[in-house]
Amino acid sequence: MSIIEVNDLTRMFGSFTAVDHISFSVEAGEILGFLGANGAGKTTAMRMLTGLLEPTSGEATVSGFDVYTQPEKIKQTIGYMSQRFSLYEDLTVAENIRFYGGIYGLSRRAIKEKTTALLARLDLSHARDLRIAALPLGWRQKLAFSVALLHDPRVLFLDEPTGGVDPITRRQFWDLIYETAGRGITVFVTTHYMDEAEYCDRVSIMVDGKIEALGTPAALKTQFAAASMDEVFVRLARA
């Protein structure tokens, strides 16, 4: 079974269909780019897959758990990071890690070990007791990324993780994504940078609640006779 299975998933808000019968599956270790214009339904779809919003109809499982009946189980097997919400600015680096470790139910000893390992891996050991507010944005995002992986989730949801960061940090961030996917963790990522769409194994493009395109970047470019993913996106979203 695939790590994410979605079948005819639909969500209405009143008479408005935000997500309209979408179906797809994602394999372990796959990087899926989830694209769409503002308001196309990406966030609603993502909220259903992260157990935060009950669908109106259709089926979906994440790590084998059902989105209707087992949303709490889903939350334990996924990591989530967004550009807007990640770490507490008034807490230190170590305090943030301890806080999230506690939320995910890790033992005190596990948190301690993970903190040391994580900071060493990110080359941030010196920043352990600095408040998040004092860290450059690029560091914060790398840290937020690692904190989202603290409880060894099977799927990592990244909602516009690279918005606003400088071009070098943006690319370093993708190194982290590749490493994570290489360890077998599925990465589900949204972005407005079309060059980043090319870095995904497969890309889905939502238009008005429906998935209008799904495939490898190369296949989509062939399908839409486009030179770049940017062209594919504009063609679909402007239609």
């Binding site: 769409g36 214009a37 503002n38 308001g39 196309a40 550009q83 450059p136 944005l137 690029g138 516009e160 918005g163 606003g164 960061v165 400088d166 071009p167 070098i168 940090t169 690319r171 993708w174 190194d175 590749y178 290489g182 407005h192 940078y193 079309m194 060059d195 090319e198 870095y199 970047p217 190369a218 770049s228 993913m229 940017d230 996106f233 504009v234 979203a237 402007r238």
Partner: protein
């Protein structure tokens, strides 16, 4: 239109702007390109008279941003990075409010905003807080223009906006520029820099360069190759291991490889990659983009 001399601003121990200088002509579409935290917003807030610099001075349309702030406010339009309209007022009420604050009416200046406002007019009775992102942006732009400013400041108008809406937004700016408006815009998107007449690359409070987009690209003086293989991440890692590599960055479907030597040896690079169990290798020399140039400048020690 704008003259900035030796402008500095710090917050606590953070030097937000350091000795920033530039001049901007009337009718220019001028872009500040740099990541979050580079100082773009601080600079904008000083230029629109919302923040007083520590040292240095700045004039906009001949008026000093500190001494003449009252007179200056009537001549500039400002669209902050965060949505700053009244969410509880309707679309129309917001627009009328901003017109009345500046002592004018919507009717008097309707011609200026017509193209943009017409797109949201069907929703004029909707509360601004209930608009979609793209519509909020159009309303904010209409409100920033309704008093017919001489110069328009847009702080990251396209952050978090999808690729299609970004294009449409830049098309609107190009039309406003044709109408004679001076426009200063900031963006973290390197590809948008090409839309500007001139661009200032900004990082950590300093201007790295001010030039036309094509001049910035032309100044890139290292051999640059676009490389592709069926295996992307292994390719990036292999290129980084290559002894002559200066910089290796993913760029859409290609990886941009800059050689540390004056000229790159494409055949030797191909031979090396062939030994790295990569397939479907493609290598071609390419001209630098703004993004290549920016990353190269980020590497150079600033003096």
């Amino acid at each position: 239109m704008i003259t900035v001399t030796n402008l500095s601003k710090h917050f606590g121990t953070v030097q937000a702007l350091e000795a920033v200088q530039f001049r901007l002509d009337e009718g220019e579409l001028f872009g500040f390109v740099g990541p979050d935290g580079a100082g773009k917003t601080t600079l904008f807030r000083i230029l629109v008279t919302l923040l007083v610099p520590d040292t240095g001075n700045a004039t906009v349309d001949g008026l000093d941003v500190v001494k003449d702030y009252r007179a200056l406010r009537a001549r500039l339009g400002y669209m902050p990075g965060r949505f700053s309209l009244y969410p509880d007022l309707s679309v129309e009420e917001n627009l009328t409010f901003f017109a009345s604050v500046f002592g004018t009416t919507v009717q008097a200046n309707y011609d200026l905003i017509k193209d943009i406002y017409q797109q949201i007019e069907p929703f004029k009775d909707r509360r601004a807080g209930a608009l979609s992102g793209g519509m909020k942006q159009k309303l904010a732009l209409s409100c920033a223009l309704i008093h017919r400013p001489r110069v328009l400041f847009l702080d990251e108008p396209t952050t978090g906006v999808d690729a299609v809406s970004r294009r449409e937004f830049w098309e609107m700016l190009q039309r406003l520029k044709k109408g004679g408006l001076t426009i200063v815009v900031s963006t973290p998107y390197m590809d948008e820099a090409g839309q500007c007449d001139r661009v200032a690359l900004i990082q950590e409070g300093r201007l790295l360069q001010i030039e036309t987009p094509s001049a910035i690209e032309a100044q890139y003086n290292r051999p640059l190759l676009a490389v592709k293989a069926a295996q992307r991440y292994p390719l990036i890692q292999a290129l980084r291991q290559y002894p002559h590599a200066h910089a290796v960055y993913a760029f859409g479907e290609y990886v941009h490889y800059t050689d540390a030597r004056p000229t790159a040896d494409v055949q030797a690079l191909r031979a090396y990659l062939d030994t790295q169990s990569l397939t479907h290798i493609e290598i071609k020399p390419i001209p630098a983009s703004i993004e290549d140039a920016f990353m190269e400048l980020m590497h150079e020690p600033t003096t």
